[in-house]
């Protein structure tokens, strides 16, 4: 079953208590952060701490992703040399702007993997798009390598890069959001929305998540564990949707045995895209469609 990425919880890489407890909140993914959450004079300590926690801590079933510093900074290469050999589920790379830069990054990663005798197909890449140039190039970036299995929009940095005011409705980055979603969907990869910064505004978070879901985001980045349940609730299919999806898959399997690809339920045509959507609904509801 495909891994869910409704929520990706940021955990500062220099905070031992938060790193230790990160797995208990039920987030689908954990982003152990070596970049913006860590002060310049703590980069070394964070790198060591994150390394040790990946090796020893129980994160239950959460996907583990490490956000490294950009390769153009003094810390990026050291981050990769420390983290890549541990083969977390994914590496998140900030401020991706071009395929050339991505090619360089992948080469560095694969060289490290070769040095340690590791395969190239296990650890995936999450790319952050957080500049206007990155948004312009996002389709090419998303399709560049099979290792890229998610892209995400960094709303705060993008707002700064565009030199616009951050507003609650996110209107300034709305076009970018949709561009990024399109690039991801066109390449069949996940796409994660930016964080909602006001942790006390539950209703605002719910509204923004509903919008993100509506325009196609797979999930949303999270800066406080209290935000997780709200996002999961938004992404949880309704009972009616689950029942409908279950019926579609059941009929699909029955018809498939008979060699029929397109069929009808209650007079409405069911074809491959509808079956695909039904499988997504069941995945979100944690129902194993293979057993139907």
């Amino acid at each position: 079953m495909k891994k869910k990425r409704r929520t990706m919880l940021y955990i500062p890489g220099n905070n031992p208590a938060m790193l230790q407890q990160g797995g208990i909140y039920g987030a689908d993914s954990l982003l152990l952060d070596l970049e913006d959450a860590v002060a310049l004079n703590q980069k070394d300590a964070a790198r060591i701490l994150v390394r040790n926690m990946i090796q020893s801590n129980n994160y239950y079933n959460a996907e583990i992703c490490v956000r490294v510093n950009h390769i153009d900074t003094p810390f990026g290469l050291e981050d990769l040399e420390e983290i890549v050999p541990l083969q977390p589920d994914a590496i998140r790379f900030p401020k991706t702007e071009s395929v050339e830069e991505l090619a360089n990054l992948i080469k560095i990663i694969e060289d490290i993997e070769d040095k340690h005798g590791l395969p190239h197909n296990k650890m995936t890449l999450h790319l952050m798009i957080e500049t206007a140039l990155g948004v312009q190039n996002v389709f090419d970036i998303a399709k560049f390598s099979k290792r890229v299995d998610a892209i995400t929009i960094g709303g705060q940095d993008l707002t700064a890069d565009m030199n616009i005011k951050s507003t609650k409705d996110g209107s300034g980055i709305d076009f970018a959001r949709k561009m990024i979603v399109m690039a991801a969907k066109a390449n069949k990869i996940d796409v994660i929305d930016t964080v909602f910064v006001d942790v006390n505004d539950e209703e605002g978070l719910r509204l923004e998540t509903e919008y993100a879901k509506q325009i196609g985001f797979t999930g949303k980045a999270v800066i406080n564990p209290r935000q997780i349940d709200i996002i999961h609730e938004v992404y949880m299919p309704t009972d009616q949707e689950i029942r409908k999806a279950y019926r579609i898959i059941k009929e699909f399997k029955k018809n498939k045995k008979l060699g029929i690809g397109v069929f009808a339920i209650d007079g409405k045509m069911i074809d491959a895209p509808i079956v695909t959507r039904a499988t997504h609904v069941l995945e979100l509801a944690q129902i194993n469609y293979n057993t139907i």
């Binding site: 230790q20 208990i24 909140y25 564990p225």
Partner: protein
């Protein structure tokens, strides 16, 4: 010798006598009565129109003819805002009274100043449901020759009925009183709410002083304490600071871990089989407990479930649920939030109850016996689900038994909520320092790292699994905690017993030993 839960307890303690060993949570109740003889309350008389008014607390205390070896009692409804206990003990000390047995329903940090009277022989014995602050630390280090006795709220009533606590003088703080001693905690500038723990003292004490900063015209209404039990009435400037009752604990926590635990606990309740129309409910006021109420409130609204009653310590959150019609009644033995006072006065379905009705196991049915669901905290819990709420990780007395064992015994579903470790201190352990509530009366443990069901409750576990909850063995959780925080160095104790943990039925479930100091 070891009692039934394996705690090593001497059969005889000098100055205490023969120890009545704990035999099981419900064993002594099965008979249907209490073996111990009940003492009669004192007979007293007053002449018609005789004044009870004294000018000062000192004058009132002098009127009661205090003597060495007396037992003096207090109630703790003002919690950390209380002004009365310390003042009263200071007066008795100035009078040169020695060997006092202090029987306060609980002791808090605000009572730290009496520590010097434990050292100089003014106070030599203590009965209480909880001891916090410097007093608890000093007792753990052996400041008293005789062990303190920690009882439950229900157990205190039983101990007074049997004369184990034989009160010579009860000093009762009231936020309003009249000149005959009719009194309430619900009105006035220092209003603190229910006086549930004070009622037993007034009935059984040989002499009773009501102290108030608000003497009102006769009669004082509503009447929590009635004049026929009161000897003297004193007006003072301030009985205390009611704003310190709650000390912020009655706000819903924002701690992600507490909220995580609370959410899991609410899911346990939802799928337990006990979450249905007419269910009764009790939660504590702090941390995760109150957050459970928040989630249960949401689930009740969503499922259109209406409860029967809320019991015990009451917060404004409970009052909100009453006003929303989610529960029919509140039975209030202790108000955790001064904001509930107006509800107690104005809402006939918000009822003040005495501790005897709340939790005394030896009557025709205390209200804890009617509880469906209770959510409790823990300082430690062992792999047999035994719970410690009295001694901290350093082995010193710092908590309160309160109604923990009373409610755990009575409720159909008893849930303990706590983090699996705090800082680097494990909470879920193989062995705990002190047992206050026996594991046989605990059904579920909920921590941030998962839910554990007592193996004595297989049907409950089945319900929770059917509800989609992930259940794990408490032994596995304990091992995981140990793998995170490491093995904790055991605290060293001397042989001296500094505390007795009395189970609600009067038997001794555990003892607290003196912490050993090196160097």
């Amino acid at each position: 010798m070891k009692n039934v839960i394996g705690r090593e307890i001497p059969e005889y303690i000098e100055g205490v006598g023969k120890i009545d060993m704990f035999v099981g949570a419900w064993e002594k109740l099965k008979k249907g009565w209490m073996d111990e003889v009940t003492i009669p309350p004192p007979n007293k008389a007053k002449l018609p129109h005789q004044s009870k008014i004294c000018k000062t607390l000192e004058e009132a205390i002098i009127q009661t003819s205090p003597k060495d070896g007396m037992t003096v009692s207090f109630h703790h409804h003002l919690r950390n805002g209380d002004n009365i206990l310390v003042n009263s003990i200071e007066i008795l000390a100035k009078m040169g009274i020695k060997n006092i047995t202090l029987a306060s329903s609980s002791l808090n940090e605000v009572h730290n100043p009496i520590l010097k009277y434990l050292k100089d022989g003014t106070i030599t014995k203590i009965w209480s449901s909880g001891i916090r602050g410097e007093i608890g630390k000093a007792i753990s280090e052996g400041v008293l020759d005789l062990p303190v006795t920690i009882h439950s709220h229900g157990g205190r009533v039983r101990a007074i009925h049997t004369g184990k606590i034989n009160i010579d003088l009860a000093i009762i703080a009231a936020s309003a009183a009249d000149n005959e001693g009719n009194a309430t905690g619900c009105k006035g500038k220092s209003a603190f709410g229910s006086m549930g723990y004070a009622s037993i003292d007034t009935r059984y004490a040989k002499q009773v002083i009501v102290v108030s900063d608000n003497i009102v015209d006769y009669p004082c209404i509503p009447i929590s304490i009635t004049q026929n039990f009161v000897d003297y009435v004193v007006k003072i400037d301030s009985i205390g600071d009611a704003s310190k009752i709650a000390t912020g604990s009655t706000r819903i926590t924002k701690s992600p871990i507490d909220l995580r635990i609370a959410k899991l606990a609410a899911n346990v309740i939802e799928h337990s089989g006990s979450f249905k129309n007419g269910f009764s409910f009790q939660v504590g006021a702090g941390g995760a407990s109150l957050a459970v109420a928040k989630y249960i409130r949401e689930k009740m609204k969503k499922s259109e479930i209406k409860g029967s009653f809320i019991l015990g310590g009451v917060t404004s959150y409970g009052v909100d649920m009453l006003n929303e019609g989610l529960f029919n009644t509140i039975f209030d033995v202790q108000s955790f939030d001064a904001a509930v006072c107006s509800s107690l006065v104005e809402n006939s379905h918000h009822i003040e109850i005495p501790a005897a009705l709340y939790a005394n196991p030896f009557n025709c049915g205390c209200m804890t016996n009617k509880l469906d669901i209770v959510v409790l905290g823990a300082l430690e819990i062992d792999t047999n689900f035994n719970v410690n709420v009295i001694t901290g990780s350093d082995g010193t007395i710092r908590g309160a038994s309160g109604g923990h064992s009373d409610t755990a015994s009575g409720a159909t579903l008893t849930i303990v909520v706590c983090p699996s470790f705090r800082g680097r201190i494990p909470i879920v352990k193989k062995a705990i320092h002190t047992v206050v509530t026996p594991g046989e009366s605990i059904d579920v443990l909920v921590t941030e790292r998962g839910i554990c069901v007592n193996p004595l409750k297989p049907e409950l576990e089945e319900n929770l699994i059917k509800g989609g909850l992930n259940i794990r063995k408490i032994e596995d959780l304990q091992e995981e905690v140990e793998s995170i925080v490491g093995k904790v160095q055991e605290i060293e104790f001397t042989d001296k017993i500094v505390g007795l943990i009395e189970y609600r039925d009067g038997t001794i479930i555990d003892v607290i030993r003196q912490v050993k100091h090196h160097g």
